[in-house]
């Protein structure tokens, strides 16, 4: 197992390359999901305000 992870001494390079790619490719969709939530929240807020303005 350790032999697999060390990869003939290149392990740190290979795994850090994989790690950077993985980190960025998780960060991007996560930030998109958060952005989507905040946009939806904002639209809802304006919609609520509009609805209340109509009531009054």
């Amino acid at each position: 197992m350790t032999e697999f992870f060390s990869m003939g001494g290149f392990g740190i390079f290979i795994w850090s390359a994989m790690g950077i790619a993985l980190a960025l490719m998780i960060l991007e969709p996560v930030s998109l999901i958060m952005k989507r939530r905040s946009v939806i929240k904002q639209i809802k807020r304006t919609k609520r305000l509009d609805a209340r303005r109509k009531q009054n």
């Binding site: 003939g8 290979i14 390359a17 994989m18 950077i20 960025l24 991007e28 989507r36 946009v39 939806i40």
Partner: protein
């Protein structure tokens, strides 16, 4: 049979369609990337002996580098379509593609530097291909910066589309200049990229991973495009009729509670 493609150029019909497609692209992306890496890591043990183990970086490196270049072409394609047909959705897709392209360029540069350390013994060398990717990064960032600097949506769409076209015209010239600083001869640290010389098991791993990265790009681009659609069409009725925008009871009661405490 004639399909009306312009039907899907309306944000209203694009939005639900993209919503259905995104999970499919995610599944395809995860399966292809894992499969490609598995193939590349475990089916190549006999070729990649101890001295060549670092070759495993190449699956992620080549995949992201190809996508970085391909996404620029895709971005220019949408920008051009926008300028010709003046469809709003094309511009939205162009700007959605740009960010994923930037991410891919950064991954390609980072993994390229690590690859360089293992095979050439230095993290950074002013090798033509690395330099070209650095410039590609600058061009992507310029596009995004111009777009976010202009408040008027119509102007920002058109201006950045024109910039993308200018970039496309100049990138080959820049590539040539970086590749051949002395016009009488061109030199490169990178191996001549001929796919024929690559061992077939490595090639399979590379191609499958690239396909997975492509599916990933589809997924994130569509996600971002949906957000842009929501932001720009927020005042239309179809947006406020969407199920995710409907005001659920829980949020209503929250509001009432808040107004009560305030009064």
């Amino acid at each position: 049979m004639k399909i009306n493609w312009f039907k899907y150029s309306a944000p209203m019909s694009f939005y639900p369609l993209a919503g259905k497609l995104i999970p499919l692209f995610w599944i395809a992306a995860i399966m292809l990337i894992l499969g490609g890496l598995y193939w590349g890591f475990f089916k190549t043990a006999d070729i990649l002996n101890d001295q060549k183990q670092y070759y495993r970086i190449i699956y992620v490196h080549v995949a992201s580098a190809w996508m970085a270049m391909w996404l620029y072409a895709v971005m220019v394609f949408w920008a051009m379509l926008g300028l010709i047909f003046n469809t709003r959705l094309s511009y939205m897709l162009a700007s959605a593609t740009a960010v994923t392209g930037t991410v891919m360029t950064i991954i390609a540069l980072a993994t390229g530097a690590i690859w360089g350390k293992t095979s050439w013994g230095t993290y950074w060398d002013w090798d033509p291909k690395l330099t070209t990717f650095l410039i590609l990064l600058f061009v992507y960032i310029g596009y995004i910066a111009l777009q976010s600097a202009i408040d008027d949506v119509r102007r920002s769409d058109k201006a950045s589309a024109l910039l993308a076209l200018v970039g496309l015209a100049l990138v080959p010239i820049i590539y040539y200049a970086v590749n051949c600083p002395d016009p009488t001869q061109c030199a490169s640290l990178h191996q001549e990229s001929s796919l024929k010389r690559v061992e077939s098991n490595i090639l399979i791993g590379m191609l499958v991973t690239t396909l997975g990265f492509w599916m990933y790009s589809f997924a994130t681009t569509l996600m971002r495009a949906r957000i842009i659609v929501l932001e720009r069409e927020r005042s239309t009725t179809w947006v406020s009729n969407l199920p995710e925008i409907s005001l659920a009871e829980t949020s209503n009661s929250k509001i009432e509670a808040r107004t009560e405490t305030r009064s």
